[in-house]
Amino acid sequence: MKRAALAGGASLLVASILLIVSGTNPIEATGVLISGSFGTSDKIADTIMAWAPLALAAAGLVVTFSAGLWNIGVEGQVIAGAITATAVARSMGGPGWIVMAVALLAGFVGGAFWGVLAGLLRTRGGVNEIFGGLGLGFVAQAFATYLVIGPWKREGIASTSGTDLFREDVWLPTVGGTRLSLAPVVVTIGVLWWVAWILKSTRFGLELRAVGKNLASARLVGIRSEPVMLGAFVIGGGTAGLAGAFVTMGIQHKLVPAVAGGRGFLAILVVLLAAFAPRWIAPVALFFAAISVGSSQLNLRLDLDSSLGGVLQGVVVLAAVLVAGWQLQRKINRQEEVR
């Protein structure tokens, strides 16, 4: 608790200094941020729709982190899922709800495939997952751009603003006249519960943590690390792909090259701030989604650059990690003094 107060205080201080330097009243900015993310039912809907993909990708990252893997390729897996979901939504005929279900499933499969590629590069190719994932991310980004200005270009004009809109009966249905749809929310809550269960109560979860803690001793007790790592990439990539599918099917209703838009990277920050604990993913992701959605209002109403939201998110995570490290070191030093 003391840690949270210290980190929170430090980030408030830094954020306030930045705001005052740029000539803005921090209290006014906070008000705009809150009203911009929770002020009206439309804003709440936007915040929740931003929360679901973020929390989904973060849930998968908890699994890969547990196996000791830095899945920086998550951004590319979001894009891969968006691409496969788009392929289904554009080409499959039949009743809307079936197309939607298949497209979401395709999103999971697409992301999982892209994740497993990074996993295979690590287990078979000797390529560190950070660079394999990053490279695959660049490839996915380039492929999405190619599709949007090439084979899937809009009638007549090729533009990076996206493909044609999907037919309307495959847009995820919304409730209460807002942009909120329930499917992403329900699925996200389900996935968060599923991930927590896997890590806590299954043999696979135990093996994941063994591989993550100490690869050499995990091998000594007979755990085969490759299937465990690839399994982690299936879940991590799959949930990221599902996140991409939800953004495509539920928010944008078309494929845009910037479909990931930093969501994957932001999800890594969410997991770091949540200290890898599944139960903290939902609230931390909500906090981050609110900042992201609210910060667009900072630009409209206070003429501040909307990257302030990203600065705030980064400062909070950095402060939390530094304070945690500092406290741990102080504790160790004290114990040594006692001895």
Partner: protein, 313 residues
């Protein structure tokens, strides 16, 4: 031909600063993952400083200080707080990029000072390489000197050898009386300053100005080139020039294939991954084991203690 070579050398200059800087840092055993963000922040600061003071030198100095500050934060959290360098570096990547966008808002797309060309008389007329090596500006000359200097420093100087020992086997270096963490702070500060200079080389020369996200992607490319170059300055430089060549070719082909500039950042990664997969393949490994000298040349291993923290007790 001469002009093409010259434009490749110029296009690669900012990458050379970043990749060689990171090579020095990593050779001491520290990973500064923050490059993609620190280059942006340094590019913004460098441009802002040069714009306000109307001095390009002030811009480069400011950028170097920013790069150094971010790098030292990574080193300090690893050395003093025992935190994971990758985690802190990643957070700083995102934070620095957003900070650059926020603080640089009022400098977005302004015309500002740039480095002026300084051809060296007589030498610039040497056939083939004259234009590439001697008809450039200070920023590019600096990048060329840096390659030679870094290669000499790491392979030949006492300081460089001790620095490599610190990154390879810190315990052994410590027992020989080398102060491990002092070397790590110094190498990170120097490497970070070079990463900062890379930002200024973008905003005051190659890209001539600041725009939000203008250098995004180059930091990751520089990090990949360090691996591709096997932590050896000369090979790292070669990687930078290969990428510079790709950039120049893409620019020339732009009228023919309009989408190429968007696809360009993706090209070096698959190539580098492929080359890593090939050198790591069992048959090549077996060959390398049979002839260790050639093997080391072919399959460079990362510094033994890369990314780990060292405590003296």
């Amino acid at each position: 031909m001469d002009a093409t070579l010259a434009s490749i050398v110029a296009a690669a200059a900012p990458l050379v600063y970043a990749a060689i800087g990171e090579t020095i840092t990593e050779r001491a055993g520290v990973v500064n993952l923050s490059l993609d963000g620190s280059i942006l922040l340094a590019a913004m600061t460098g441009f802002a400083a040069a714009y306000t003071t109307n001095s390009v030198i002030a811009g480069f100095v400011a950028a170097a200080l920013v790069g150094m500050a971010v790098a030292l934060l990574v080193a300090w959290s690893g050395i003093a707080l025992k935190l994971n360098q990758i985690a802190v570096g990643f957070i700083l990547t995102i934070l620095a990029a957003d900070l650059a966008g926020f603080l640089g808002d009022s400098f977005n797309r302004l015309p500002g000072p740039t480095v002026t060309a300084r051809p060296i008389p007589v030498l610039e007329n040497i056939p083939v390489v004259g234009q590439a090596l001697f008809d450039q500006n200070i920023s590019v000359y600096g990048s060329l000197l840096l390659i030679v200097g870094a290669a000499w420093f790491l392979a030949r100087s006492r300081g460089g050898l001790e620095l490599s020992a610190v990154g390879e086997r810190p315990e052994a270096a410590h027992s020989r009386g080398i102060v491990v963490n002092r070397y790590r702070y110094l190498a990170t500060a120097a490497g970070g300053a070079l990463v900062g200079i890379s930002g200024a080389a973008f905003s005051l020369d190659q890209k001539a100005g600041w725009a939000e996200g203008s250098t995004a992607g180059f930091g990751w490319i520089a990090l990949a080139i360090v691996i591709f170059g096997g932590w050896q300055p000369l090979r790292v430089a070669l990687g930078c020039y290969l990428f510079g060549g790709l950039q120049v070719v893409a620019l020339r082909l732009q009228p023919v294939f309009p989408g190429l500039s968007q696809v360009l950042p993706a090209i070096p990664f698959p190539l580098m991954i492929l080359s890593l997969v090939i050198v790591n393949s069992p048959s090549i490994r077996k060959l390398a084991a049979r002839a260790p000298r050639i093997g080391r040349l072919l399959i460079p291993d990362p510094p033994g203690a890369l990314g780990t923290n060292f405590a003296t007790d």
